[in-house]
């Protein structure tokens, strides 16, 4: 992937931007698939990575809850006696001097695939402008995660412009419908169907919308053979 920014690096960059813009002390992006914890993917620094990983060590934490519930999960002060949700995780965080954790689900086409976690050393509620910013950032975090789980696609072929336009290209009625159709065609789940769609578009120099329309109008049907490298139909080693 010469010259291109890889998914891990772009995830790290996004975390750095969160620290710079959202007045927090650390940020991390975790990847969670099928409700199973998979691990920390990007982070603003090593400490944030460690904090994020506590959730996987203890099997509890705001990130896992945010993914499970599909909504932001905020803990303004882990030291508050009323805060009883994640005793082991909170204990470890407090030991490192972290008081506030804010987790935002990361979605691709209604599938929750991870979370953006923000960490703060001072207690307190989260401001509205930070909430807005974190909302945007968690949407952007979908891109590196999508790249991560479709690592077999040649991303140098990406021709759809910047991050936002790529995300927007996925938020379309025909793409949702085509995703459902590909699920049945290939017997895969929604996230993987979307990755197949996107991969087909890139390798055939089409937009995602064009591929989706061709599928919806039944001019195109995807088969596992479309992805030569993996005849058994599994998308990547990660899924």
């Amino acid at each position: 992937m010469a010259g291109a920014v890889g998914p891990v690096e772009s995830a790290d960059r996004l975390c750095h931007a969160c620290v710079d813009l959202l007045r927090v002390d650390g940020a991390a992006i975790s990847y969670v698939h099928h409700g199973t914890s998979r691990g920390t993917f990007g982070s603003s620094d090593e400490l944030s990575r460690r904090w994020d990983q506590f959730q996987f060590t203890f099997g509890e934490g705001p990130c896992l809850d945010a993914v499970r519930q599909g909504r932001p999960v905020v803990a303004g002060d882990l030291q508050d006696p009323k805060e009883v949700r994640w005793p082991a995780f909170a204990g470890a965080m407090l030991g490192d001097g972290v008081r506030g954790v804010f987790a935002f689900p990361v979605r691709i086409a209604a599938s929750r695939i991870g979370a953006l976690d923000l960490f703060r050393r001072t207690p307190g509620a989260i401001d509205d402008d930070v909430l807005d910013g974190a909302g945007w950032a968690s949407q952007l975090a979908a891109l590196p995660l999508l790249d991560l789980i479709s690592a077999d696609v040649d991303w140098e072929a990406i021709g759809e412009g910047g991050g936002w336009s790529q995300l927007e290209s996925l938020e379309r009625i025909e793409v949702y419908q085509a995703t459902g159709m590909v699920q049945v065609q290939l017997d895969v789940d929604a996230t993987e169907a979307l990755i197949r769609l996107r991969g087909y578009a890139f390798s055939h120099d089409m937009t995602i919308s064009e591929v989706a329309w061709a599928i919806v109008e039944r001019q195109l049907s995807l088969s596992p053979d479309d992805f030569g490298t993996d005849p058994d139909g599994t998308a990547t080693s990660l899924l």
């Binding site: 979605r107 209604a110 807005d132 949702y176 995703t179 459902g180 159709m181 789940d189 929604a190």
Partner: protein, 247 residues
């Protein structure tokens, strides 16, 4: 208002009110609203767009489940009367689209291609906050009369109130969450339609009907069934096979 129309209007509100008692399905409620618009107002098609937390508009309901009709509403996340209505918070009425081809270079030709020549967009509002817009497309040139406009606006108000179900507009986290849930429900419905259409070899509209039939037969909410199909937690042949019970 003649007696027959008055009865239809009353029925529309009673039916909306009924859908709000007990656990109701947001997609079905809003789809119902757009169907009432087409039935009661002098319009050919109606669709509802809701804004997400970032102020981007998404289709959440429409009077036709045809993909091309849905797309025409969706296109307005970038330009068009519904987007303008959402941004300004006031009604946008266009009696003759032809004269606004420069204003919306993508939207106007797309609407004309589908036989629509006039558009009215009404805001979905909650106090001072705009949640989205109701788009009404006409097949004939001309403005909607005042009766139709105020009736459409009244339906949009009821839907707005139902949608946020008592959440204060100051509680932005919960409000955004509620809207996000509605949008996510629509994504699941579209994915499920696609899966059923593929499995049963039917059109998207027929797939939607099968989804609806199954949810009614099994006394489950439409979007719960759609989510179960999209996440493959129920076998698709169960839902796709509900055609038999329709006959």
């Amino acid at each position: 208002m003649n007696a027959e129309r008055e009865r239809s209007v009353t029925e529309a509100f009673v039916s909306l009110a009924d859908s709000l008692v007990g656990p109701f399905d947001v997609v079905e409620m809003l789809d119902g609203l757009t169907e009432e618009c087409v039935r009661l107002l002098d319009v050919a098609s109606a669709g509802l767009l809701l804004a997400d937390g970032s102020g981007v508009l998404h289709v959440v309901a429409a009077s036709s489940e045809q993909t091309r009709s849905l797309e025409l509403f969706q296109l307005q996340r970038d330009e068009g009367p519904c987007l303008e209505c959402y941004r300004t918070g006031v009604t946008v009425g266009v009696a003759d689209l032809q004269r606004h081809a420069d204003r919306w270079p993508q939207f106007v030709p797309a609407a004309q291609k589908r036989g629509f020549v006039s558009v009215h967009a009404l805001p979905m509002r909650l106090q001072d906050q705009v949640l989205g817009a109701l788009g009404l497309f006409g097949a004939t040139v001309g403005s909607l009369n005042d009766d139709d406009l105020s009736l459409g606006q009244a339906l949009a108000h009821v839907a707005s109130v139902a949608l946020v179900a008592g959440i204060a507009t100051t509680d932005r986290t919960r409000l955004n969450q509620q809207l996000q849930n509605a949008l996510e429900s629509r994504v699941f419905v579209e994915q499920a339609k696609g899966a059923i259409a593929q499995h049963a070899n039917v059109t998207m509209e027929e797939a939607f009907t099968l989804l609806r039939l199954y949810s009614r037969d099994h006394d489950q909410r439409l979007t719960d069934v759609a989510q179960a199909v999209a996440t493959r937690s129920i076998p698709i042949q169960q839902v796709a096979g509900s055609r038999q019970s329709a006959r």
